[in-house]
Symmetry: C2
Subunit: 698 residues, 2 copies
């Protein structure tokens, strides 16, 4: 709970006001920015980006869905040909991998530029099916099952979701009942709602699946566990006895993936094929697990599969970058309506167009840097270097916060880019509609965004609860806590903070702008919002703990929207912090200054979007609030000359963008038109316009 | 510039507090609401909706784009078989039409439920190509050219947009140069940017086109005119000499339409085929027009084609209704995560889910009623009953305001519905992704939304200018105007209005809620916002009138975003007014009460979205502002039992929704699962959960 500070512009730490070049003279060092974005594993990422630019991996829009599915499988075979390790970075060295979990996800997230279907089908094979064996299996099981999964000898499905249960995995209906007679598990689908559904690879190619089912032995259900289950004869691709399924049919996108449904009737798998890292069954049916609590065991198993969310976060940001690069390059050439001069106005010179695209550029950078921090955290945990329960929890919360934010951001941005390119944006040859259609389901799979946001918020509230408990353990602590809250609340209710800002700013809009530019102000505004929202929700939820169930449910319901909002605010802060940290790595002062403007655009547009909150909670005076939009608009104008550099900084070439409108065709067409009109004028044969004629005859 | 009123709840005009049933007891009369939504031409609309429910007109998702294109053409032939007049409502009685322009658009907007490709290709044939002949041609030309266009003997393209010029039609490059020797126009495409582009029917089926070109005669360019140009040999479908073109290829949606490009090299058409209602050329090349000003002439020609915008507005709202009906029906059955009871919670019982869907239901109703008013206005003008220049201008402004709002609303809503249905929403069999893909370009064609919003705002500013001029003609008027502005501004700046509300509300949140529920409050808040924004922009733009061009451009640029915001606010007000008017037509008190809550949700969520503005402009006190969200949430809970009724009220049956998840399949699956678990429990063979076991052994 901090109030906003009043640092004057002269003391801003990120700006040397004496020797620095003028704002108009700075240029973005595109290469340095691209380099920075390559992150912690630049060589691997570069290699992955080269692969994504290779035509043999590109989406071919002319194919039928059936052809597209076969092409993607064939592409995956090429990807691991000759033991190419780029798809195996995360696997153990002893199986030909490189034990590089973080680099692996960085590379995976670049694959979206080739074809999202290729990316997600690869994700199913190596990030879900194989990863389940890796993370849920014992070393013996890894040795036995992984090699064939890794080299695609066994294409696999990841059979977790059911028609009846997607988000609530704990409630799935599939059962695996242990039969001590034969030392086998019997897998069964008891009703239609328990069919496995939406599984990539399941409609056609998978010959095995990692199947999640309720493990039942000796009459006890030990909860959801994962089983390795062969499902098709690899020679005929026919289902094995007891296995059935169907094709999910056409989807809104990702049509290169054969999603399908599976069901099981008395399918027997050997006792050894329960992936047994977190739970195993002895020959006599006795269940044992290294984790006593069934709840914690379940979440540990699911948590080991967090990489999906981490990698979708990065992929979504990359897809948004591609859309933005296409839209900005087109808008930098495209002209429409005569402006002040004789020439028509370039789209980027329209304030509305800058408003559509530039804040998204800023958000893409913020999202990128946040994903880099997330990759760090992921690598720390999964390389084993800092694998603590607290870090795992941090990782899961951060992944949920960022994945839900960036997939939403990508869809909104691609849609905005599509529309900003007009009719041209609707043509498949210009890529954006295709990316939008494919990315659409990123908002749902690997955790529905709304469910993830509630998970994030609940963790934040729990953390807050622990903090309060700590702070209020002593009577003195309790008293301090009560007083601090009361003071804060009083300040808000009376608008006193706002009034004091207003007095500070009287007659000086520059002071208000300087205040907004100060990174400490931005940080405080963003951090304070998260803290206050979490605290407010935590307080509002308190009575639910002791209420009877219906009342408690009502209290939770009344605060659910606020929970989601708090999670979003948290993601905003994470991204802002990551961006701000990244600024310190930029050496060139001009580049750093431009990127600081970009960061400011991110921070201030977040604040602008939530302005009502800042006003109602007394965090901004009316005067300062009014300054925000004007200052953002000023920043957007200032960024205008750097727009193309900024999207070039993303590091994608035309081999990644592959839109006709990002190829310079528009500029060519315009020069041709200009040349035609110039020649006509020169020839003296140009017709006079009736309008001009009427004017001159007046 | 009015302040908000403080009517107490007891005096609310729309609520009889003595004899009315309790809120919990009211039910929606679904049939009455559907009937109300049939609007002014219920019989025609009913017929059109039946047609849209007929399987022969439905989109077949299994077709290739090539097959889809042929199917749509074949469907269109069926639509006019035997002289069926449903597609000809707008045409003159003397040609077999019914002279019913308004009813025609109502029917057209229902076609979106069958297949948006069928709708838009029909729109190209009858709403653009034929309508150009109807509205831009002379009676002789209508008699000569319309019959073949109407009955599809001549499939036609509407060749206005060029690759280089979409929004700025006046600047197109195609020329039609009169040759007095042969009494022909010579149509030419001087450069690549002047190719006609994105034209429905042009890639395959059109044998003629209405081509827009700069009319040049005797060395003078008289601006854009429309020409009837045969382009293909109807026997071979080969291009005629001098005509060329290409296929636009795949698009993000509407793949049942053969969009393409056309170009012309010395193509000669007889003098008589200049569509000559607004301009003609005598044999000797002398140009004449009933409209002297070339600018007004151009806008009159374009204005006569306003029906595209009117009909897309209605269609977009209808598409949103379909998405909402699917998502709400599914969410009313789908359960996920165990709630307070033993059963899992229905999605609609989650506050987040209600927030996702219910405000959109309210907006769909608002959009529908606004489109009805727009249809009235359109019919008034185009039936000739009230065809005045002022009405035409009103019609054009309203159409631009609503089309840009409803197409945005439809896309956002379909996306939200898609995500609210989770993985199921991504399957093509559940319709929503398909609708989103097809509707996508509705935001661009018939006027890019951003361009339309600027058109709206500029008209509002011009109206304001006229008003001011009127009011300030006398010195007394001028003085009053200045004082009123100064007072208003002072009130805002000091937040005095806000303070007075705060004093009025102290300690009484019910009074604040009563205030919000009052329709006069809502109207004032919405209307005041439009008026203030327009006034603010108008004032800010004033200096541009006398500034030198670069400076003027800068001023306009600085206010462009505000212009667009003002246009959006205007559309919000129009929709709210239309909804409020419609409420008076509801007889059943319970239905009226529920629909009033729905209207309140619309009005208050609009206010909530713009809360920062209301706070910064002193229109709402902090206390009242805080009440808004809580009160909206209360309304959404209150609407929960009526959710399915409300989407049923849209009047669409499963033959229109055609999603598997809107068929009741989910509820069936759940009963099957419940029966399975119940039988298991009854048999005594149900496994005990480890969790329960641990608890009981503690």
């Amino acid at each position: 709970m901090t109030t906003t500070s009043d640092q004057s512009p002269a003391t801003l730490p990120d700006r040397d006001r004496t020797s620095a070049p003028r704002d108009e003279d700075v240029r973005l060092d595109v290469e340095a920015v691209s380099e920075l974005l390559l992150g912690r594993w630049p060589e691997w990422r570069r290699q992955a980006r080269e692969r994504a630019g290779d035509p043999q991996f590109h989406k071919d829009e002319s194919l039928t869905p059936a052809e597209h599915r076969e092409r993607v499988l064939a592409q995956m075979r090429v990807m691991v040909e000759g033991g190419n390790k780029l798809s195996w970075l995360a696997f153990p060295e002893r199986m030909g991998g490189l034990d590089q979990p973080g680099a692996n996800l960085a590379c995976f997230s670049e694959l979206v530029a080739a074809d999202p279907s290729l990316q997600i089908k690869s994700g199913v094979q190596w990030g879900l099916f194989s990863a389940a064996i890796l993370h849920l299996g014992t070393p013996e099981q890894q040795d036995r099952l992984l090699p064939d999964a890794m080299d695609l000898t066994v294409p696999g499905a990841f059979a977790m979701t059911e028609t009846g249960h997607g988000s609530d995995v704990a409630a799935i209906g599939t059962t695996a009942t242990y039969d001590p007679e034969t030392q086998e598990f019997v897998i069964d689908t008891p009703f239609r709602g328990a069919w496995k559904d939406y599984l990539g690879n399941a409609a056609l190619h998978a010959t095995a699946a990692t199947v999640f089912a309720q493990l039942i032995t000796n009459g006890v259900n030990h909860g959801v566990h994962c089983f390795y289950v062969p499902i098709r004869d690899p020679k005929t691709q026919e289902f094995l006895p007891g296995v059935g399924g169907e094709d999910d049919g056409l989807k809104g996108g990702l049509r290169g993936i054969d999603n399908g449904r599976l069901h099981f009737s008395g399918v027997r798998v050997p006792r050894e094929d329960l992936l047994a890292r977190y739970g195993s069954v002895a020959p006599d049916g006795t269940y044992s697990s290294p984790i006593e609590s069934p709840g914690r065991r379940f979440f540990t198993m699911l948590g080991s599969l967090v990489q999906g969310r981490v990698s979708l976060d990065g992929s979504a940001v990359n897809a948004a970058k591609i859309g933005l690069a296409i839209a900005v390059k087109y808008a930098a050439e495209r002209r429409q309506f005569a402006g002040a001069g004789a020439e028509e106005t370039v789209l980027l010179d329209y304030a509305t167009h800058r408003r559509r695209l530039f804040p998204a550029i800023a958000e893409a950078y913020a999202g990128h840097f946040a994903n880099e921090r997330l990759l760090d955290l992921f690598d720390d945990v999964f390389s084993g270097e800092h694998d603590t329960p607290e870090r795992r929890e941090d990782l899961e919360t951060t992944a949920a916060a960022l994945k839900s934010t960036s997939t939403r951001f990508a869809l909104d941005t691609l849609q905005e880019c599509r529309e900003a390119c007009g009719g041209a944006g609707f043509l498949t040859e210009n890529r954006i509609t295709s990316l939008h259609a494919d990315l659409d389901v990123y908002a749902t799979f690997e955790g529905d965004n709304t469910v993830l946001q509630q998970l994030v918020a609940r963790r934040l509230v729990a953390d807050y609860g622990r903090e309060v408990k700590g702070a209020t353990k002593t009577p003195a602590g309790m008293a301090r806590f009560v007083v601090e809250r009361a003071t804060g609340a009083a300040l808000d209710r009376t608008g006193l903070r706002r009034v004091s800002q207003a007095i500070a700013d009287v007659g000086d809009p520059r002071r208000a702008a300087g205040h907004l530019r100060d990174p400490e102000t931005q940080r405080e505004l963003l951090a304070d919002r998260v803290a206050t929202m979490v605290e407010d929700v935590a307080m509002a939820l308190r009575p639910a703990q002791k209420a009877e169930p219906a009342k408690a449910a009502r209290i939770v319901d009344e605060n659910q929207v606020a929970l989601v909002e708090a999670a979003k605010a948290h993601a905003d802060l994470l991204r802002w912090e990551a961006f701000t940290t990244a600024l310190t790595e930029i050496k060139d002062p001009g580049t750093r200054r431009i990127m600081t403007w970009v960061r400011d655009v991110f921070g201030l547009t977040v604040i602008e979007r939530n302005m009502a909150w800042y006003l109602l909670n007394g965090r901004l005076s009316d005067q300062r609030a009014r300054t925000v939009t004007a200052y953002v608009d000023r920043l957007l104008r200032r960024l205008r000359p750097h727009a193309v550099d900024l999207v070039d900084g993303f590091g994608y070439g035309q081999e990644h963008l592959r839109a006709k409108i990002s190829s310079g065709a528009e500029a060519e067409r315009q020069s041709e038109a200009r040349a035609y009109y110039a020649a006509q004028r020169a020839s003296g044969a140009a017709p006079v316009s009736e309008k001009a004629l009427r004017k001159s005859s007046r």
